[in-house]
Amino acid sequence: MMIEIRKKSFNAYAEIKYYLDSLNIAGEYGATSNFVGSMRNFNKDKKVTHMTLEYYPGMTEKYLETIAKESIDKWMLLDVLILHRIGKINVGEDIVLVATWSAHRKDAFESCRAIMEQLKSGAPFWKKEETSAGAIWVEKNTPGY
């Protein structure tokens, strides 16, 4: 299990590959589900140029660790990776990556999605977008189920 808050930009696929290679679980997992959240150039019809992501050092990591551990127990996962950007983020860059490894696809799919929903609804991160209408704090994440 790895939880990381990253200040520098990352490529989601290089990160998953690198982490998976370190695990040595080939042959044990049959299903991997990944979600990658990336920065769009618009939000509710406003043009966005970049944004700044703030977090709560200590609580954010703790919160993510809790949801990862609970998912491992609930879905019998072999492993979980959560990686989240902070700081200045440009359009097109990856913001979040969640990967879950399991024997079966149902567990992989469901756990990956549940982790994302919990992250969106509770993990202490805040986005301030630089838009054509000035800098504004994003108000609320919408539930994705």
Binding site: Y56, M59, F125, W137, E139
Partner: protein, 78 residues
């Protein structure tokens, strides 16, 4: 007794500081601390989230000496 208080995002900007140490009475709830803060600063913020020692708490949660209290808006990560 003293508690340390942190503010994040829009609330940090509203309050004008990111953290402070505040004296509160024994048995003060986290929401009454918040009310006294916004009254002192003469500001308003709907739907504040509250955490004590890095765990979400309900508004009636009672503070203890040395607690780390955090106030922040709805989260918007991911």
């Amino acid at each position: 007794m003293q508690v340390s208080v942190k503010y994040f995002a829009g609330i940090r900007e509203l309050i004008g500081e990111s953290n402070s140490t505040i004296n509160v009475q024994e048995g003060t709830s986290v929401s009454s601390l918040w009310r006294s803060i916004i009254e002192t600063k003469n500001v308003k913020f709907d739907n504040v989230k509250m955490a004590v020692n890095m765990e979400y708490v309900k508004s009636e949660h009672q503070l203890k000496a040395g607690d780390e209290v955090a106030f922040f808006p709805s989260v918007t990560g991911g």
